[in-house]
Amino acid sequence: MKRNKEGKKRMTGMRLITVFAVIMTAIAGCQPSGKQEPKTAHQGSRYFTDPTIAHKVDSVLSLMTPEEKAGQLCIMGADYPNLKQLVKEGKLGGTNGVLPGRNVGRYTRQMQKLAKQSRLKIPLLFMGDVIHGFQTGFPVPLALAASWNPDLTRKTDSISAVEATASGVSWTFNPMIDIARDPRWGRIVEGAGEDPYLGSLMAAAAVKGYQGESLASPHTMMATAKHFVGYGAVQAGRDYNTVNMPERELREVYLPPFEAAVKAGIGAVMPAFVAFNGVPVTANHFLLQDILRKELGFNGIVVSDYDAVTELQEHGVASSAAEADELAMKAGVDMDLHSGSYLQNLPKLVKEGKIPESLVDDAVRKVLTMKFELGLFDNPFRYSDSTLVVNHVLPARHREAARKVARETFVLLKNEKNILPLSKKLHSIAVIGPAADNPLNLLGPVHALARPEDVVTVLQGIKKAVSPWTKVTYAKGTDYNTSSESGFPAAVRVARNADVVVMVLGENNGMCGEADSRASLQLPENQLDLVKAVVKTGKPVVAVLVNGRPLAVNWLNKHVPGILETWFPGTEGGNAIADVLFGDYNPSGKLPVTFPRSVGQVPIFYSHLNTGRPFNPNDKYTTRYVDMPNTPLYPFGYGLSYTTFSISPVKLNTQNLNWNDTLKVSVSVINTGERTGTEVVQLYTHQQVADVSLPVKQLRAFRRVRLVPGEVTEITFRLTRKDLAILDKDMKWKTEPGTFDVMVGSSSEVTKSAGFILEKP
């Protein structure tokens, strides 16, 4: 610590040389270790596990002034007034600059050059919101979850990393792994839906996708698990609103994906904007220290959300920015995103004795370690290489991946009388709706550098797919959200003249995502009116939905024979949609979140408790509404196929499972239809009696099976007592012996079940 004080003094020539020597040594030493130990994943920050890195980090740290240290803990954007000056002064840890339209590669190179002019030449980190693609736009995360195929998340996120790192961006503020059970919340689109099991798989897959086997690779980037924790439970579904939940709900529902991400080796964690039970997460010692650090063992970087540190003042727990910094720092927030408040106040707070210097040092260590790990000390420009951009940004292979991934995310919600797939040889198809030929709004919110000019729209995709003699007509009909009906007559006209109408409806990028909560879950009224007008023509109508949240599409469900949920499908969305509409790909997506009939049912999710008075149609005094069924419009796990599957009764290897044994749950799945298709077979369990009330069912496993017509396959799931663990009355995870139901089916509304008893040990 002595050396820190010296660091404040002006550098003599001699000392500068020493600095260089240390850094050069550090860099030189960095190379072999980076290669020898590719598997950083489970270790978190290598500072704690790798003495070589620790030594180097401490060497650099010892040279730093308090201001430089505070600077390392700050991330500021290009909008900060004297950003470049700060970089030159060595008072910035990193900058977030992924904005559409910017030449990111050039920007990161310029900034890194400035960093090289600083006293200690500590390289900058570049980070941004790389959420579902960088330049190749992939489906939104909620869509990826609908594939029930974690490999797709891993694949798309690894491609995102390849593209982003080519432009110098080596840190993404993703994945968002907030469980969300309120579709009003706009950010439900960025997560994996309502279920902790599916959500945990997706979270781990994303970490592996971004971070790969090693952060030392020039094609991988550090990921951030966000938003720790409970952000998805904002009151009344309104973004940033307060969050209240008991510790049980926290641990059972919201925490598991974070545990999975930490286990998968996530490099950074971002605290949520919200106040959790009265204490903003950014100042919440219980969550950030007791749970995240101590229980989950996370030792990477905790980076605040945008201005979240200074927002502690609005929350009413700090009366000044300095007080906010103190609270955040003490709670364990290593880096301050955007506000720059740490830079302004930390040196002073240390001087006044309000924050121990060791706290700041620990945070700086984590940041420096990350920079070492990413190889930035080794070569600050390793990620900012213009040749990489040419080879790795939106090449044909990424487009191909985008198309294949997108079609796996679509969920066939309704297909009356097999109206889908459509024949490519139809005489004429009318394509109608605000989302039909709108490239920008196929990309979805927060689409990084993905460009509308690269997007294949639905209209384009359909035109490419059909036979040369099929006439494809188009009318926009209406906008996303307007009171104008001026486009209706044209739409009705093209509908009248077509054999089939494809209506592409939904939300635009601005109707979901951050700060885009909605108090209603309907299609905007004008769109609904347009559908009504078109349906009136009597022509068969297929609705393609492009949106970022469950919508209460009751009217469509009642009056439109075919409904395909395509979320925001990304750059290749139009092609992928055409693939499915015309049967080149048989849809296999399943809903990762419940679709309610109405906002009045919210929150509604499959894994609810039974209550003391479960619904009974013959008894008034049971849990119900007087004006609406309890059941959702479409349940969790639901999704149709162009073929049909039949699942046999559930077979168990035993009805009395010994404590240490494995339960084998088998079903035969038959493709009883006429097309090859993939079914997602889902397994749920329910413990009938425990010392706390437990959900009526919980997803414990699923399997994707691809079957040709007539093909039969037997699937066997293996469950051990660990899969049956519950959080008991004393808040400890454990398995309780008892009676269980095990249910297998093609959605959460499973029909096949068997029972077994888990014997006492």
């Binding site: 009344a236 309104r238 973004d239 940033y240 609103n241 307060t242 209240n244 939940m245 008991p246 510790e247 049980r248 709900e249 106040a275 039970n277 009265g278 204490v279 903003p280 945008y306 927002e311 609005e314 929350h315 009413g316 727990v317 009366s319 601005g510 109707m511 951050e514 909560s517 909605r518 108090a519 209603s520 009939r597 109405s598 009045g600 049912q601 919210v602 509604i604 609810h608 408790l609 039974n610 209550t611 003391g612 008075r613 008034k620 005094y621 049971t622 849990t623 509404y625 007087v626 004006d627 609406m628 309890n630 413990q687 009938q688 009696v689 425990a690 010392d691 706390v692 009330s693 009355k729």
Partner: protein, 756 residues
Amino acid sequence: MTQKLMMLLTVGVVVFLSACQQPLVKKVATKHEASKYFNDPVITHKVDSVLSMMTLDEKIGQLTLYSSGWDKTGPSMNENYINDIKAGRCGNIFNAFSPDYNRKLQKIAMEQTRMKIPLLFGYDVIHGQKTIFPIPLGEAASWDLKSIQKTASAAAAEAAAAGIQWTYAPMCDIARDPRWGRVSEGAGEDPYLGSKIAAARVHGFQGTDLASDTTVVACVKHFAAYGAPEAGRDYNTVDMSERKLRDVYLPPYKAAVDAGAGTVMTSFNDLNGVPATASHFLMTDILRKEWGFNGFVVTDYTAINELVPHGIAKDDKDAAALAMNAGVDMDMQGGTYSKYLKELLKEGRVTQEEIDNAVRRVLRIKFRLGLFADPYKYFSNKREKKLTYSKYHMALARQMARESMVLLKNDKETLPLKKGQRIALIGPLADSQRDLLGSWHAAGDWKINKTVKEAMVEQFGKSNIRYAKGCDLRGDNRSGFASAVAVARRSDVVVMVLGESAEWSGEAASRAHINLPHIQSELLEAIHKTGKPVVVVLMSGRPLALDKEVPMTDAMLEAWFPGTEGAPALADVLSGKYNPSGKLPMTFPRITGQIPIYYSAKNTGRPYTKTGKEQKYRSRYLFTPNTPEFAFGHGLSYTTFSYSAPKLSTVRLQMGDTLHVSATITNTGNYDGTEVAQLYIRDMVGSVTRPVKELKGFRRIFLKKGESKTVTFDLTMNDLSFYRKDMTWGTEPGDFKVFVGGASDNVKEAAFTLVK
């Protein structure tokens, strides 16, 4: 048992009972003495004496409560239950409510049982026994604690005459989700107002002497947090942090217990995975240990058996053990204690001490009610006849109903109606008789109350009222629209009585949509198009979402379900005979999608303020404002009031001192009227986030036209206290704001600092 011993026992009881003839309760218990009264050594001694003579079966009988049935001729009793009473296996009965019948049952207990322990008779006397007062949510809108206490005491008097000694009220559940049907039975969203009303109701029911033949013992329900079922669906699960539980939901129960309530009812819901009926944390740790509650805990209807579907008990026996271990004294209707306690005791799963303590608590209440002294004093045809629908009770019902009505909107002084105006009276509730009483109207007879139409004719004269129903409460039948429109056209002003059927709120009556049914909304639209001024009178058991309807009206009056004298009271208000003064005890959202919405929200880190340029990254919805349609505390008058800025006794308040906040209120309009002045505070910075406003005082003041009065509120340290970060209760020094005004969204403010 030998015959000899049996005789000895009988002698003992007789001696004992004769000792009871003297008035048991010498002191009048006030709320301050409640706990002392609980622990009255004389009663304790007597209870122990009785207990010592009881067999285990008899003890268990005291912990058993069964329902009387009802058939065409009156109350009826399952023959098995009669046998149970005779055998001492059933010590308590509910839903029997006639002096003769209850006397008959009591006679069985007194003459045919070994121990001759009187039965306790309970009933859901929620807002009146026969004279029905407005639903509790409506009464809460009066913010008039004295009136609320009076109606509870009138209800108690009628009930006590009819053979009831125990009412299952007050419901003290804070509710912030208007989808939940039982918001109608509570006092709304606010813990401060809720606590005051809970205490007032307990005082009303219990009076100052439980042994009086005009009082009944209250039952605080539903403990706890029943008002927060997920998705507003009755009986659904409840999840909340302990902080929220203590900040918001517990205070009214606590206030009721502090006011001396003798019994508490468990709630149906689970709280964070543990059903309340099996929650040791709630029934023992909080209720008995923290709060010192010394009465008995009864379950809600079959709530012990329901531990099985809750999934924490494998059968009823298991459930009975869990409930007894949690601290639940009496089993309502489930019969689980009766069937299994004996076995459970043998198996060591419940203890003799648990059972004895439960019996003690029940006996103590029976003693306090004076039942041992005179088991028949509550069965009085004479008193029942005298009290039921008495002039005083009817006048009280009318006054309470008038006070409960909330004038939501009154453009261009559409109300009060002017003399001689031709009034079109339209709507499915305008001539409904049954709905006026609301849900849980006990023994109240809807056939005796007037409809709005009848009362309006009486008030305004037959020639001035033209009636058309227009439509049903719901459905698609528009055939009545045309005549309704025609009636409107022929009139000067239209009064539409719209809203909910009485059955759409109350228990098991949650709604996913809290708007007006579309048919009523369409009718309103048709009438609105006539261009006539439209007054909408709402009857509902919950806040409604009226974003579509409000712009189509000129005036709007929330009348809730106003009770036996509701219709004349409504006519009083519409005519201006009574100037409305009600204030909303619960926020009215614009649309269902805003739920939960309440005034005492947290600021968040990104509060949305409408000032300045549009801010995207703020806590808000895309197409719906954050603000409600009508805020908590809102309610207009025919006159207007103006408030001075609040004046504070100091801007630097020393820890331990009391702050005096005064404001001058002036009646600036053209009518005499009553205003409910409200005091709110905000703790600007805390160790945890604090609400943007919290009600800490209110005062009803009557002001003549042009008159000014200064009201002074005292803010004590207790008012500034909260559960701090470490869950200790207390204050934190720092800056506060104080607001005074006529609604939570219409206040004037001042600031002070609390200094160490």
